[in-house]
Assembly symmetry: C2
Homo-oligomer: 396 residues x 2
């Protein structure tokens, strides 16, 4: 087992923990207030259809109440977790779990906006209204408690200028966590296409990290194995944008752009980089990297980060294949498959043998740098509610 | 470096090499003879459109003539390699490369049949005619030299009873190499759906291995990075069927069915199995394996094989993560990105430090068992044209 790098400091300073993977969402009736009058009736109808769809999934992963591993009193899909939308409860629950800062991803937002964007067909005008309602609601949530919530804005792939406008709005209204690009672009070309260039440009200019997060998959229909297919494949679809930005030269043209890939597993990174390095070295591939000044792994090193969520102990043991400076832990609050409200147990299971500097980086330091959290402010909070190094090293 | 397991035998017996990844295809005018009269004019038009599409790809990977790494005199896309369709030349070229048996996958066949099935929209009736033309032509090629060519039959995902009929025809007419299932099912449900059950049943009954092979991808359009996207993603789409057959219980219901996954990289196997094992152990996933009596890795061990093509030396070094009993080498003849006509150099680069028993298994023994090659017959040929162990261990 490795020694802490500064043993005399170890017990003195509590850990500043930032969760790089949390979720928030309003209730349908709350989004109503953030929608222009003309979209409200259709939004009500949309939510009703969504509820019917959820009801069909009884007995599956998505019906968490029916699953043995879940505590039924805390179902988020039923809206039973008020911290999902209430900033005071949210901060209290995060702090009770040892967390002082967070990056916020959506739940399902009106008109199919959010993590599953393009999973079902959209009406572009309605979908944009849903995106704007979510962003405005999220800005209010984040601004209720400044500096603690890095809210991530939504966009879609319909009109690139609309997306650019939304990114600008988000940056100016307190959503400094960055921008979630949908894992699918629907009927539009994928992210290797030049049409998205204005999005990369403004995200670089405004220092808005670009995020991908698992959620989208093709429609597997209602065969019994459909949910197992979803769980097995959803991560891969979430990191396709890395491939697209790499080979289309987005990292080359926008050297300050950051790409953050969250809740999509970790072990794929090593294999993907190795495959891309082999492609790069193949004589048949020369033509395809003629405009790239760096190698695949060098772009990754310079511009990419992994929202590792709660790492499997095996992934933690292999962390140096990716680099501890690239990995950001997350609790997935308030999802029931995440670590909340038992984050300490999870941290002990995964991190008990990790040296102090690496641990501080993965649990908060890396995220603080990527998102520009005010470290002085978070450290102050952390010294009240964060765990000590000894608490994480105690046997689980 | 490991010693050969039986040093005294090492130089005595030449290696029986079976390539588990070769390709064959006729010229358009030859397929014409295998098509019913009423499809001939439309087939001519289809090939003309295909040629125009190829011409648009000048300067890309698919235009192999323009690529530095390729020997221009041997372009297969231009039809310059007669071994692609001539059985006598084919056998001569394979033997000159040290190979006594092969598994044959298609080139582009009429009406979009073949490796890129469903890459462009099809007319179901025409496509089925194209599939039948290829299968009948391939049977003639294989039967010209019995026991040496394990031809793999084509099917599509349109009418399952048609596919079953085609599989039966193939088994009865000398295509004992198995059946290629397209990597995409077009507009039809994917392979986790029960509609394909008759295909798995007949393949198990007739001992026809089910193959997947890289080739299909989504349409990336004509953006500059499209080909790089294709090369980076095509392997993943090729092994999606493994996920589908696993979780939908196909391996459970058909314990003698074999799945062979060819030319799609190798390092993904370890990660995929690890991910599926973790899913299996998750409390939230119990519901999805309630009808499975084995674990993911156990089904893989029992029923799956990797057509590893020419392994990267790094993959060879990691071969025990997959198991040498699972890996089958292939030359990709007559493709120019394969090892032909310099197979010996490639074998030396990858296998020079591999113990004899593992080497014999990966280079031929495993394929002999999976496909039921007549080993006595192949060994006889191998003792004339196969390399010795010393030749492979000589420094490259």
């Amino acid at each position: 087992m490795a020694e802490p790098s500064h043993p005399e400091e170890a017990s003195a300073r509590r850990l500043m923990i930032i969760s790089s993977d949390c979720h928030a969402g309003a209730r349908p009736e709350t989004y109503r207030e953030y929608l222009p009058e003309r979209f409200r009736a259709s939004a009500d109808a949309w939510w009703q259809a969504f509820e019917r769809e959820m009801a069909k999934r009884a007995g599956t992963f998505f019906d968490q109440d029916s699953q043995e591993g879940f505590d039924k009193s805390r179902s988020v899909l039923e809206g039973g977790t008020a911290g999902e939308w209430d900033p005071a409860i949210r901060t209290r629950e995060l702090e009770a779990d040892g967390i002082v800062g967070e990056v916020i991803f959506p739940q399902m937002a009106p008109f199919g906006a959010g993590l599953m964007q393009y999973r079902t067909p959209i009406d572009p005008e309605q979908n944009l209204a849903g995106i704007r309602a979510y962003n405005r609601w999220l800005a209010d949530l984040c601004n209720a408690n400044p500096g603690r919530h890095a809210g991530v804005a939504l966009i879609n792939a319909e009109d690139v200028e609309d997306a650019v406008g939304e990114i600008r709005w988000a940056r100016e209204h307190g959503l400094w966590g960055g921008v979630l690009i949908p894992a699918s672009t629907g009927e539009h070309p994928y992210y290797h296409d030049p049409r998205y260039e204005p999005i990369w440009a403004i995200c670089e200019d405004l220092d808005m990290p670009v995020h991908t997060h698992s959620g989208w998959s093709p429609d597997y229909g209602d065969a019994p194995a459909s949910t197992a297919m979803f769980i097995s494949e959803v991560s891969w679809y979430a990191h396709r944008p890395f491939t697209a930005l790499l080979w289309s030269g987005v990292f080359e043209r926008h050297p300050r752009l950051k790409l953050v890939m969250t809740e999509q597993g970790n072990s794929w990174v090593h294999d993907a980089l190795r495959m891309f390095e082999r492609h790069y070295d193949s004589p048949y591939f020369k033509y395809f990297h003629k405009d790239l000044s760096l190698r695949p792994r060098e772009y990754f090193e310079r511009q990419c980060f992994i929202g590792a969520s709660f790492l499997h102990p095996e992934d933690c043991a292999e962390r140096h294949r990716i680099g501890t400076q690239k990995l950001m832990w997350g609790s997935d609050y308030p999802h029931l498959e995440g670590t909340w409200p038992n984050t300490m147990d999870s941290l002990r299971r995964t991190f008990s043998e990790v040296p102090e500097d690496e641990l501080r980086a993965m649990l908060g330091g890396n995220a603080a740098k990527v998102f520009g959290f005010d470290v002085g402010r978070l450290e102050q909070a952390a010294q009240k509610i964060g765990p000590t190094l000894e608490e994480i090293r105690a046997s689980a």
